[in-house]
Point group: C2
Chain length 132, copies 2
Amino acid sequence: MDKIMTYEEYLRDVKKGIVTDLGNCPVTPLLLMLQGKWKTQILYELCIHDTVRFSTLKKELSGITNTMLTNSLRELEADGFINRVQFNEIPPHVEYSFTERGRDLMPIFYEIMVWGFKHESDQPKKDQPKND
Amino acid sequence: MDKIMTYEEYLRDVKKGIVTDLGNCPVTPLLLMLQGKWKTQILYELCIHDTVRFSTLKKELSGITNTMLTNSLRELEADGFINRVQFNEIPPHVEYSFTERGRDLMPIFYEIMVWGFKHESDQPKKDQPKND
DNA sequence: CGGAATCCACTGTGATACTG
DNA sequence: CAGTATCACAGTGGATTCCG
């Protein structure tokens, strides 16, 4: 694909059979990378803090364990979203920051935020709260 | 929030303490709703087919089981993304389609697609394939 | 300080068989 | 046709302890 089209243009081409070698949802791969309970929250902290340390994340994401924080950070790093810089001073510390690939998620997050504000009131009740 | 700002404007306000009542990532809630292996693929089929039947989904999403398809559809319906219309003819069938809430995901998917095309080549290898 | 290692509970996913 | 019911399994999430 040479030029960026809209999603609906893209889908129209898919329907017409012009795009056949994909065969699958172009949205899925990224969203699979962002799955898990903590990934997006870590990225959010990265947005706020520019660079952030392990201990800061641990403090901000209340409830997260060392294990999960480590795993999530490792996966985000492996997927190329964040950088990990280790400072071997005393006391040692580590700083995490966005890669360009990660920072380019911003427009997506912006659209999600817009969607969220538009639809925050129409969230259907998946289970009615019982009035006790 | 009265007017839509950019995500970075929003984050700047968060940093300044103007937005304090949120306290959490505005991106996370939606992405949690879209988690799972099949959700986005189902939505993708909905994009292509406008309305789509259970059996069509079953055929297109090769590998999905009745259980997972049913569960995913139920959750997408509960989250307000899709409509379910049942036709009690002979033979009976069911048609799924987007709600407005679901269709409004399009701009998000578009941004994800743009991101995907920009970064499709810089995907780092998370594990080197061993040449056996 | 920033993890790693281990163990464990839970739940997401899947295969199979059956039903209105 | 469009599911439901059950069971099995694997991966995720979590608590605790220990290490460089």
